[in-house]
Assembly symmetry: D2
Homo-oligomer: 373 residues x 4
């Protein structure tokens, strides 16, 4: 009979649900050498947590993460809490010898992220930041094509991440508007993803110049007569230069009316180009200068073939997968890395390097000039 | 504690896997009054079945469907076998008092489908044909909009279902090429879906005129020197008139080079229009003549909002779902219909009516003239 | 100094304007060995004709086409009148030794079209039916690619031509609704184009089965209390088999709410596929099975490169052209054929062959069965 | 009989051809109170000029622009020369009392542009910078919709202008690579357009921060063994803040492999959004928060209806126009402004204000910090 590996999760909101589904389904699609057991869930709100645990398949629940990270029957800690608790939980879990997956961004700032990376390194545990978009099959294919030289030298990496849920002025003040809790707004939530993808696909960023914006500076607090001050950014754009010479352009905004979760990458190289859009995540557009003259054009590759990354685990050609499948890939790959004692990325160190970029953008936005990283 | 409902599945191939995932995940996303238990799986190939059962979460396995449909610890039978066994299994299961879900098309022909409908009716069991595309959120929204009169009187229902896996002449002969086993080819597999959607969205078809085609008439049998004769259609197109006056046009083909699972509906009415494509199943295009003059256009609705059918069970706006989620919807709705003792569609009677249309098309293709249904 | 060639046009409505612009502009973009002179215009309505002639650059006007076709100072007659006058004008012009361009469809029926072809043949004059879509650069490229074998053996030619201007029930009765004047409705106007393109790109059609529809059977006559009976079709669909074995599917309708001039071709072959849409006529989608596995997809070729047909006459890459440019191509090619005494297509004989198909579809729609051509 | 207005053009290259076609065709589509006469053309290369004049319809030619701007039989001067001669020609023409159209950008820098504006103002002549994209019907509609408040308060104006003709390292050195002649590269050519559109659609820019890039620093000079140094930018991106609070993001590059003339605007406001792409210039995407909840989406408006700006001059719905039609609109509107003695925009003053922004971006790129305008 197969050995078991025991998981504990902290945080029962949106990300907790998505990760839980990943833990629950992973063995249906990955050939694993052990059986993942959803041992315990933990949330600060015991009521919602209990319902969450029952619904999502967790066998027990804990009211304190401190207790959970020290339970001897748990091998892996999955952190799905708000950003300001990532570091303490991750560090404690690593010290307790647990493997750790942590939601993105790594932490509130680079300093915290570095502590996480050092703790994990010291403890010798597997560690991962859940930058799940690296495991969208189309992105994994993009990585492969770029590594093979299909794009040649990359000149441009232009990324936008558009949502629109804050454009409604009646949307109430929540903790996400408070930069002390959230770290930042659109920037830490959305640019975090695109910076991670930039590092994954193109390389390290050398310098940045950003512009942080708050369009609606105070919002009503639900069920009260009071308003809260918005200190987290509604939008942050920045220019960048990569160390390899590529030029970067990033926009993250929650005011892109009509765009719901529109993360578009446009990558232009000397031999070819790629375009990706998260709202159509089963597709990748590819242009090759190697195609016959007169027949060149952006090809829309439907990423549902057995040849494509991750797809063999799923369905026949043309049967698209959804956003949450990325968590199954992430969790499956993480478990395989544990099983084979292999390095897995993006790890805490990647989380730290990403955070350095995010921090530099905010500093640049303050000082109104370019910042070297 | 919640009562359990026990499921048995027959058939461990592609559809068996997709249904299994549905049974496995449904309770994470539906609030059910009982707990679905994946009691037993059955396949003619015991080896693959055993691995399948273990992987997908079935608690036991059976080597004979006859045994399984009579097990007293099973409440629901899910039929995922080839078409020529649907009728005997479904009839036996209904007689044994089991609720039955059966893969599409209902059966080999209308006569068989009628037997299924009569057996289920007599037994008083819940019954459903797994025309899962009715439960794509975009299709469910289309149904709602049409019911509300958003399209007015419908003039055109134009449906294509394009795949390309047979265009390769080296693709070997398999049982699907034998019409005695498969019933038909593209027609029974693909037009079955679009005819069901036509009935769901527009109404009954009154007359049809079809053209069945075989483009490659014999194929090599793998691992042999022999070839098999292709008797199942590679493609079937047909014209139709609906009883309400709408005009229908249907194409199903496995020779649409480059199209993997491209099911496109174009529905034109007196007030508005809808366009849908299964390869982008999270989107629905809608044109309204009620929009302001000069600002009319096809809107691409991204079907990921809480207001949209089924989406509240899933993720925030912009987080797309995949093809297999339709099975969770289908299974969830089926379980709720059992719990509430309500009618559920598409039932075996719908399967029968759909089959009448499919049969008429083949008859018309033989006689080279229109056939009334 | 260059010799002149003198043009006379009959018909001053929409098509008259578009052709006039073609005659006016052609020498700016074609290197012609003679100068086209817009000698005379003719319309049954002298008032509108005079304004038309002045505006569009015609040097004089005639009130009778009989006079014009016999004027010794005219070399080319361009026929832009309603369909029921094409034949008499074309025959008279050919007999008078004029080269003739005639708007599509050739005539009211195949019999008339044959008379035109015979008269032109006998007179030895250049003759052309203005199926201008053959000279959309993307279509010309499609032709070239098909001729080179890029698609291999063609299995499917699926064409729709969607407009929506009749869906409004208040649109008044006009002569186009009277099949005695118009020949037919959507069929003769729109299927005429797609049948011509089918013949151009795939080959001759062998048999057809059609369905002619009138959705609104009577309409108000403007400025009166009376209604007119609609005898010309609102929509005609048909299935077809090409003599080379390809399968055809055609829909033409003026009830496709939201589609303005949407002519879509989907051509699927054994090696590749092409998709075209007239509303985006500067683009051609191409899928090739010869592309590397895992990187195959429909490429959207922007047809604005020097390598593309006709484009060298126009602008640098990315500067799109419009619908009316097809007339410049048509007229330029026609003038070059005169200059070089070469055959030009589509000629009256093509017009006749196209008409044979159109007539067979109508006959089939009457008899409710397939008709061989 | 109608009075004549006499035109002289300077510059016989790409832009000279496009403008010539505009002068030639304008009277076919505009009801003008006078007849435009293409009196004289002028180019520094007499040979190409003569062929150009004959081909495009100019009645005579001049070898010196100084002579031409002083000819008494000329009323309007159209300047289509390289940027470094705009100012002297425009100033001389204005002083000679001619109305002046000048290609964009206005001049080499804001100082020159201001001289042009002052000279035109003093002379009281009509003056225009040929920012022709303002007169793309879709852009004119966007302007109308924004003016009506359809977008509410604008938060984001994101513009990219992508071409790829310099990505080929074998593309030779030409004068456009020399910033002393060209002013700048992608920036002055392409950002000039998007900055003009930003001012037109959103308002004045208050501060900018840019990044000018040269990816290939030297190129072979054709027919020689020598290389030339590239001093004009291959790409320039910049961030901006508008004085009304909107956030701007601009990218112009000639290294966007696969994009030929792809100018995309994404404008997000508090009530709605617009998206435009020059390669599909007959379309405008519009999202409105006023649409019914659950039915919101980006509508693709096909800009070919009579209700749309400029379209009534052209063809029935669905018959698209091309890039060069913008020149007919520009020239037609300019002539009407002369006829009615009305102000026309964008005038030299707009050209100056646009140049201020362009200059500030370059200054910012040098100093690596934000610059107020």
């Amino acid at each position: 009979m197969r050995k078991e590996i025991n998981i504990g999760i902290v945080g029962a909101q949106f990300m907790g649900r998505a990760h839980s589904n990943g833990w629950y389904d992973v063995a249906q699609f990955y050939d694993l050498p052990f059986k993942p057991v959803m041992r315990a869930a933990c949330d600060i709100n015991p009521a919602s947590e209990k319902d969450f645990a029952r619904r999502m398949g967790w066998l027990s629940f804990e009211s304190s993460w401190e207790t959970m990270v020290n339970r001897s029957d748990i091998d892996v800690i999955d952190i799905c809490t708000p950003n300001n608790s990532h570091m303490p939980i991750a560090v404690a879990a690593a010290r307790a010898g647990k493997h750790v997956i942590c939601e993105k961004p790594a932490a509130m700032n680079a300093g915290e992220a570095l502590q996480m990376a050092e703790a994990a390194e010291k403890a010798g545990v597997k560690n991962m930041i859940a930058y799940n978009y690296r495991r969208v099959p189309a992105i994994a294919l993009a990585k492969k094509m770029i590594s093979e030289g299909k794009l040649g030298q990359i000149h441009h990496f232009n990324a936008v991440y558009y949502q629109d849920w804050l454009v409604d002025p009646d949307f109430p003040w929540v903790w996400r508007h408070d930069s002390r809790v959230a770290g930042s707004g659109a920037h830490g939530d959305m640019n975090a993803h695109t910076v991670d993808l930039a590092r994954f696909l193109v390389g390290e960023l050398g310098s940045v110049c950003g512009d942080e914006r708050v369009f609606i500076s105070s919002r009503k607090i639900s069920g009260t007569d009071r308003s809260g001050v918005v200190t987290a950014d509604d939008s942050t754009s920045f220019l960048a230069r990569f160390t390899n010479g590529a030029s970067g352009n990033f926009v993250a905004t929650r005011f892109a009316t009509g765009k719901k979760n529109f993360l578009r990458l446009e990558i232009f190289g000397s031999r070819g180009s790629l375009v990706f859009n998260l709202e159509r995540l089963n597709e990748l557009e590819y242009y090759s200068r190697d195609d016959k003259s007169g027949e060149q054009g952006f090809r829309n590759i439907l990423i549902t073939e057995n040849e494509h990354p991750y797809i063999r685990k799923w369905w026949p050609p043309g049967h698209i997968i959804g956003w949450e499948h990325t968590f199954i890939h992430e969790i499956g790959d993480f478990l395989m890395a544990i099983a084979n004692n292999e390095k897995i990325t993006p790890d805490f160190s990647d989380g730290y390097k990403c955070q350095l970029v995010l921090d530099a953008v905010l500093e640049s936005s303050e000082s109104r000039k370019w910042i070297d990283i």
